[in-house]
Amino acid sequence: MKVAVGEVVLPGDQCEEISLVGEKSKVILGPGLRKEVDGITITKAGTLKKRSPNTYWVDNYQKRYIPSRGENVIGVVVQKAGDIFRVDVGGSCSASLSYLSFEGATKKNRPKVNIGDVVYAKMLVASKDMEPELVCVDSHGKKGRLGVLEEGFVFKCSLNLVRKILNPECPLLNSLKNEWPFELAAGLNGRIWIKAKTMRETIAVGNAILGCEYLNTDEIKSMCTNIASILAGHVS
């Protein structure tokens, strides 16, 4: 079946529009699209999207993380093996994190990371044929926001929800941050770390995030004010 941008697509559909653009200029095929001999084929079910000039992808529902380069993820250290840590990021195999890829780490000065710690790291190498590799520094050797996450609470959700709350157009975080202070780290592997002053506030942030999965912009705003008033004790 022939499909166009913005439509709902199913695996096996063909998109002529992309092949026509591809003849004139370079196109970038994102997740859910695949180049075959007879054109561009869809491989996932969802909505076909385009960003100018020439980037196409399929926005589909997914819970299982497939590592890809450059994404910030939240993982749990499961093993210390010599000079690397094995980190579970929710993919098909655990990722490796070298102890030298922390800010200020040297052979003498090892970072303090223990089994069970939660780390916020960037995917440096991710390919289907190789083990994924994480780093906790940027290319200047600075840690920025990456590193071990102390205390707080981690929960899992769908990959779409993480992308939704990180979208600048989503009002959730902007509305919540005006109500009470909290810290948040969202990993694109479907894990979110939150930390607030009290347990009550932490649970409120978690519920607000999980509750917004199927809501639109206006509904999210009203939900946030609702949660804030419950938390402030106006409504029991």
Partner: protein
């Protein structure tokens, strides 16, 4: 390949109802009812699996079928095999080498056309899991009675009086045959006629898939 014969266009399947993401802890799941026949399918993967069952070039697919009684029979193992081969042809396993994908099917109610229901539920669960696929697939069952009449998507009463039952699976691209599963005795011409009828009826299933996917993607997007 699709014949434009008017007689073939006169078909009806039992009403289908589906809920995706029915199980919240699996990567993808679907519950599908076709008439009174109901099946739940859960898909997990790509996962880490044992070294000896890993294959270097593609994902290893494992299908587990559990019947209502819970005891696996030889017939069930045969169904597992049919479903595994059908799913394997649809999934782009080469994108997930050295991993395993597990498909678990639970029978809830069997009122005829159970294998077709399982296969359709599998396809919906795979779509829900977000695994890369070459094409979607649709299964349609039919029965041939003593007089040689072909009945699409038969009810249990029709199955009792039938001479042969058949299940055909078609892919979405060219509507070509992926799997045929037959039981009983029938003539060559009856077989091809049943196949053509099921082929045209598979359109209904593909339309249903599209309808379900649109419903879910508007809510998420």
């Amino acid at each position: 390949m699709i014949t434009d014969n008017d007689e073939l266009k006169d078909f009806k399947l039992r009403p289908m109802k589906c809920e995706c993401n029915y199980l919240n802890r699996s990567d993808g799941s679907a519950i599908l009812s076709q008439g009174q026949t109901v099946a739940v399918v859960s898909v997990n993967g790509p996962l880490d699996i044992k070294m000896q069952s890993q294959s270097i070039g593609k994902a290893t697919l494992e299908v587990l079928f559990s019947s209502k009684g819970g005891k696996p029979s030889i017939g069930d193992r045969y169904k597992e095999h049919v479903i595994r081969q059908t799913c394997e042809s649809a999934i782009l396993g080469c994108l997930y080498p050295r991993t395993g994908i597990t498909v678990t099917i639970q029978e809830l109610e069997d009122y005829g056309g159970f294998l077709a229901c399982c296969l359709n539920a599998c396809c919906l669960a795979l779509l829900n899991a977000g695994l890369a696929m070459r094409h979607t697939f649709a299964a349609v069952s039919c029965a041939i009675d003593e007089q040689g009449n072909i009945q699409l998507d038969p009810a249990p009463a029709q199955l009792e009086t039938s001479r042969a039952t058949m299940t055909f699976v078609f892919e979405s691209r060219e509507k070509s045959l992926v799997t045929a599963f037959t039981d009983g005795s029938y003539s060559d011409s009856a077989y091809s006629e049943a196949m053509e009828r099921c082929r045209s009826a598979s359109d209904l299933v593909f339309q249903f898939y599209k309808q379900i996917v649109s419903k879910y993607s508007y809510v998420i997007g």
